[in-house]
């Protein structure tokens, strides 16, 4: 039984977004209508969601889809926010 060709890895911020909102995996799973284990596989990057599921998750968190999923490793949100504040201060 040969394994399938591995899909390209999709990075995500699911765990961070979920923790910020105090949601359990079960809560998020219920909200987007999937099994709670699927959320775990998504967070570990072991399953790539369909477009529909990716949009559902992004809409639930109220952020653009590219803020949740990316083909490149995502920088920590804090560094991004802090970096932006510094850039704003410099331009002002």
């Amino acid at each position: 039984m040969s394994p399938r060709k591995p899909e390209p890895r999709l990075y995500n911020r699911l765990a961070v977004l979920r923790a910020e909102r105090g949601l359990s995996r079960q809560d998020l799973a219920d909200a987007v209508d999937v099994n709670y284990q699927t959320i775990g596989y998504l967070e570990r990057g072991e399953y790539n969601p369909s477009l529909e599921l990716a949009f559902k998750i992004a809409e639930l968190f109220g952020v653009p889809i590219e803020a949740v999923f990316s083909r490149e490793p995502l920088p920590p949100m804090s560094a991004r926010l802090y970096g932006r504040q510094e850039a704003d201060a410099e331009s002002a």
């Binding site: 039984m1 995500n12 999937v34 099994n35 284990q37 699927t38 775990g40 596989y41 967070e43 995502l74």
Partner: protein, 172 residues
């Protein structure tokens, strides 16, 4: 039941392997003893082993069904997209396994017939064939699913309330 669903892949594979090997082992062991002209005490010793193997076979089937339940059916409405994807993959692999087994049996049969002469099929083959067709074939997609499904995320094994660990785990 919940504990069965989060059984590690290694354990699941051992269960599948044990289940699919146990029943043929009963026949292989008996055939070897018969061919060797084993004395009655040796045959009597084989009886408990055969009973244990048959029990293992039955218990293995139960556990495989308990682990996968209806998740091996891609048409099941309660599956989400990941589970459906896995079920489709398991079904496709089942066909591959079945095809490989049929080809192997046919090839072995052909070699035997051309080397040793015709094979006489007696009524004693009826039960093994019935077991294979009636039990092994229906359980094959579930067994393949139990074989291929990756381990559940660690927090899911302990519970479903993983809110803080793994933060940024896949976020890079």
């Amino acid at each position: 039941m919940n504990r069965l669903r989060t059984t590690s892949r290694r354990s699941r594979r051992l269960i599948v392997l044990g289940t699919f090997v146990a029943y043929p082992l009963v026949y292989v062991g008996y055939a070897l003893l018969s061919r060797a002209g084993a004395l009655p005490p040796v045959s009597l010793l084989w009886a408990p082993v055969a009973i244990i193997l048959m029990f293992g076979f039955a218990a293995g089937l139960f556990v495989i069904y308990a682990i996968t339940r209806n998740r091996a059916e891609p048409e099941a409405l309660e599956l989400d997209e990941r589970q459906r994807d896995l079920a489709v993959h398991a079904r496709a692999l089942s066909y591959g396994v079945l095809l490989a087994v049929i080809v192997a049996i046919t090839a072995a049969w052909a070699v035997y017939v051309t080397t040793f002469g015709p094979v006489v099929l007696g009524a004693e083959l009826l039960l093994p064939v019935a077991i294979v067709v009636g039990i092994y074939l229906p359980v094959l997609p579930s067994a393949v699913l139990a074989w291929i499904e990756p381990d559940a995320p660690p927090e899911d094994v302990a519970g479903t309330n993983g809110t803080t660990s793994h933060v940024g785990g896949a976020a890079g």
